[in-house]
């Protein structure tokens, strides 16, 4: 095509688009740090990483294209919540992989790769200090690496990696928190290329953390990140597993470092995902799985047919309870402090 048109979102402030995002999302502290804006910014000016979203020098460098506003899940924010619609729900444990709970996120990804449903998947790996890093999975063998599976309670630049992936691959999968899943849907509605994301695996999520703040907090508890083998949040407790034992404390203690953007999020179960996975609703060592889309159903059926996982019943009640709880503790608009 030689001539084409661009649809621009409506501005709410007489500023460049990033200025609008700043006024509407970042300053009011409802930004979820999903990193969609950083992913889409054509001049790569928007920064994410382990710090709040920013665009140093945006007055000069922002090209005012509006892409960041188009993909932001918190622009014109209407919170999603509940268990959402699903085709089937079960509790399962992969027989092939080890992960946070039943490694079903990993199992879905491996099977999607093996079935040729996706060419690659974006995962979040960690280093010795538990800093996050995205990895591109093209071979299920990579998923044997325990630093690649498992939960990291720190933000990760997943969507920038997803964006790079869709430029080269026609079928991509990724794993993300509910805000990332919602952001991806907005990206898909705004820019056709993101239809190449064929499988969006959502994680149950109450909150996430900045790595620096979490490690500082744990340091005060006498825990060095490099000694940590696993972190988990179960029944209101933050659990840190180390080689020489376990440290447990109430999640409430972390309240001061829960990012404000998480505190207006009501989507626990990632309602817009193709498949949502979490630990709530299952016994230890199993993952709760909500199969929501046809593609996810195809993968679940393949896992079943090949006997790759052990299946049990999941507790819908337990999941519902957490969904309701999240809506309750995260009102939107946020309650004024004091």
């Amino acid at each position: 095509m030689q001539e084409w048109q661009i649809v621009l979102p409506e501005k709410k402030h007489k500023k460049k688009f990033f200025g609008n995002l700043l006024e509407e999302v970042i300053k009011p502290a409802i930004c979820s740090h999903c990193t969609a804006c950083a992913a889409i910014c054509p001049v790569k000016g928007i920064t994410a990483g382990d710090r709040p979203i920013d665009f140093p020098n945006w007055l000069k460098d922002c090209v005012d294209c509006g892409a960041c506003v188009k993909v932001c899940p918190r622009w014109d924010y209407r919170p999603l919540g509940g268990v959402g619609s699903y085709i089937e729900m079960f509790s399962a444990r992969s027989k092939r992989f080890l992960g946070q709970d039943g490694a079903m996120v990993t199992e879905f990804t491996a099977t999607a790769l093996e079935e040729g449903i996706v060419e690659r998947a974006i995962f979040v790996a960690r280093d010795e200090e538990w800093r996050t890093r995205t990895v591109s999975i093209i071979d299920p063998e990579q998923l044997k690496n325990r630093k690649i599976t498992g939960t990291k309670y720190s933000f990760a630049d997943v969507l920038p990696a997803v964006k790079e992936a869709v430029l080269d691959s026609k079928a991509v999968a990724f794993v993300g928190t509910p805000c990332m899943i919602s952001a991806l849907r907005k990206m898909q509605r705004s820019f056709r290329k993101f239809e190449r994301v064929k499988l969006a695996i959502g994680l149950f999520c109450t909150e996430n953390f900045y790595h620096s703040q979490l490690s500082e907090f744990l340091a005060k508890k006498g825990v060095a990140m490099k000694d940590v083998l696993k972190t988990d949040i179960k029944k209101g407790k933050f659990i840190v597993k180390k080689a020489d034992g376990e440290i447990t404390f109430p999640v409430k203690e972390l309240d001061g470092i829960i990012p404000p953007g998480c505190k207006v999020c009501q989507d626990f179960s990632a309602v817009e995902a193709d498949v949502s996975v979490g630990s709530v609703g299952s016994e230890a060592g199993f993952s709760t799985v909500l199969v929501r889309s046809d593609i996810a159903k195809r993968i679940a059926d393949a896992i079943r047919a090949r006997g790759y996982a052990e299946f049990r019943d999941a507790s819908l009640e337990a999941v519902k309870k957490l969904c309701d709880y999240k809506v309750k503790i995260h009102p939107y608009p946020p309650k004024k402090e004091g």
């Binding site: 661009i6 892409a67 820019f191």
Partner: protein, 237 residues
């Protein structure tokens, strides 16, 4: 027995005569395979890869030559625009630069035999490349190998081959940038900013982008830099 011997003697005699005739011939008008350079020069084909000349009026400063050079021998320097200079201490005469130039601003000559006094002199800037280097020519003949049913031979003509070529024109397949996925366009207008030929226009009121095929040189800068890879070079008739 006797008859056989006679026949052999005749053969031997013939062979000796052949050798003597050949010896005479080579003494008077010898055959040869070598070229008597520099008194004569071999005729080079039109696509010979020699010293490169530069046409500043055609250059659009797209940097393609500098980017493609595998020996990193091309340095862009700013004059009226950014123009290429070639460092002949590095150049490997692959002529990727000539082939990649979308406007034919770089072209080859048949000159390969120039001497530089110092390494420094081998670094030519765009201005020095505007004309073919001057040669003192000592040749008055052009030779050419001819291969036919009688074998091959060297043919010598009393003429001088023109070494500074007119542009060697390959029938052009013109390609222009086309938006193949407008629904993924971010509207960032980086392509508009980067186009060295102002071939992409933007209508800020109607939010429309437009590629003007008659202005597009097919240099591909916009294609390479599009953050969503929605542009491609497509052949035009």
């Amino acid at each position: 027995m006797k008859v056989e011997f006679k026949a052999r003697r005749l053969d031997l005699l013939r062979m000796h005569l052949d050798v003597i005739r050949e010896a005479f011939k080579q003494a008077v008008a010898p055959d040869r395979v070598t070229v008597e350079y520099p008194r004569e020069r071999k005729k080079y084909p039109a696509n010979f890869r020699g010293i490169i000349v530069f046409d500043k009026d055609k250059c659009i400063s797209c940097f393609r030559c500098a980017h493609i050079c595998p020996a990193n021998a091309i340095q862009m320097t700013f004059y009226e625009k950014a123009w290429p200079g070639i460092d002949y201490t590095k150049c490997i005469f692959c002529h990727f630069c000539v082939d990649s130039c979308p406007t034919g601003a770089l072209r080859s000559t048949k000159i390969h035999d120039i001497a530089f006094a110092t390494m420094g002199e081998m670094k030519l800037n765009a201005v020095q490349m505007l004309k073919a280097p001057e040669l003192t020519r000592e040749d008055s003949f052009t030779v050419e190998y001819v291969v036919d049913s009688q074998g091959w031979r060297l043919e010598k003509k009393a003429e001088i081959d023109e070494l500074a070529l007119e542009q060697f024109i390959i029938p052009e397949k013109r390609r222009v940038s086309v938006c193949v996925d407008p629904e993924s366009c971010l509207g960032c207008r980086l392509c508009v900013e980067l186009c060295p030929n102002d071939a992409i226009s933007v209508d800020r009121k109607a939010n429309k982008l437009n590629i003007l095929p008659e202005k597009c040189t097919g240099c591909g800068i916009c294609v390479r830099n599009c953050p969503m890879k929605v542009l491609e070079l497509k052949e035009v008739k």
